[in-house]
Symmetry: C2
Subunit: 251 residues, 2 copies
Amino acid sequence: MRNIRMKIAYDGTRYNGFQTQPGGNTIQDTIEKAIETLTESRTIIIGSGRTDARVHAEGQVFNFHTESRISIERWALALNSRLPEDIRVVEHAVEVPPDFHSRFSAKRKTYRYSICTAKFHNVFRRNYEFHHPAPKLDADAMRAALEQLAGEHDFTSFTTNHSDDKSHVRTIYEAVLREEKERLELFLTGNGFLYNMVRIIAGTLIHVGQGKIASDAMGSILESRDRLLAGPTAVAHGLTLINVDYGENKA
Amino acid sequence: MRNIRMKIAYDGTRYNGFQTQPGGNTIQDTIEKAIETLTESRTIIIGSGRTDARVHAEGQVFNFHTESRISIERWALALNSRLPEDIRVVEHAVEVPPDFHSRFSAKRKTYRYSICTAKFHNVFRRNYEFHHPAPKLDADAMRAALEQLAGEHDFTSFTTNHSDDKSHVRTIYEAVLREEKERLELFLTGNGFLYNMVRIIAGTLIHVGQGKIASDAMGSILESRDRLLAGPTAVAHGLTLINVDYGENKA
């Protein structure tokens, strides 16, 4: 039995999220179906984590155990020829040790939240960024707020109530707000993220940028452990899972 | 009666092209419907030219005559609020002289044809670029061929047979092939383009890049006035109308 790991990108627009659910039409269902047509055997894949409906990925990772004898070099192209155009394997498959688990073995994850600040939204990126034409967001204030979120904290204020994680303590290693012409991009790298955590951080920063939340309030919002003090959950389609790091190629 | 000009961008993926046709579902139909709901009067718009099904625009231009008293400043936002998300007015409307005609008054047009050369296609750009992973295209040969197309020529070899233009002589002012990481972008600026001309030039350059057509053959292909000597018509979705120039803001 081999354990195979793959890296995929997907446009989440028309899917009900990554993880299998009763309503169907998920990324996981689609990939499992493609593997089944390829191997003629029902296979469950293990994702690095779920992503919500309309959330995208440039670098989601999954693994699966298989008896298939398809050579490791053939997997990427073979699966791509059976996947719809909005899901794509983006690197060659690798064989990993039997105990590798895409979720439990992950060391760091990076997400991007994209905000289009142009007066008129870009039709080619309409499904991949949140459009916020006015008022002008104060990027310096957002950056000052963001700095206070870096490090190890209890992020209870930044997750939805029905989160079932036992501990709400997570570490954010990197928190960067890039300002481009007519676009703001928030990059967060951490050892893990609670349910809706990136979207609530993004929504809170947008309120900071609008002047509705003071940029120095992050400390007290974290301490309060009260979801009601943070900003709204930013819309799903601005969010993209950029990378999952397993600590393998680090200096 | 005012004559109003507007600039729009659209994702052509789900439309049967720009121009009204019996099958419906065109960009023009959609815009005319939006204007009708706004002004309560049936209005015909004049585009700078048609674009085919699945062809996109960053800067298509149209004008229309209207009795509406809606102020010129309000038009862009008012129309955007009535258009689907894949069509967007991208600049404020301007009032133009009564004889301005988006097609006949156009001085120069610029098109881009995009080719993704990565091994695996980019899911976020899958509808906006042609995927050509292998063999590696010879960009230098393509550039050498492209240079021979600049200037005034009879482009009969580079249009489909059923083109009904009387003269096939056009001038290409600028012809550039930009090479980026895993992407080639062909930019053509000319005084006008025959039916399918940019796509046939792109398809011919791809054959040059593959070594199927010699890079110095362009002169003889032009001279032959024979469509069969040029390359295939490149797929529609790689093509985007970038700009229409009316010679107004030139030094």
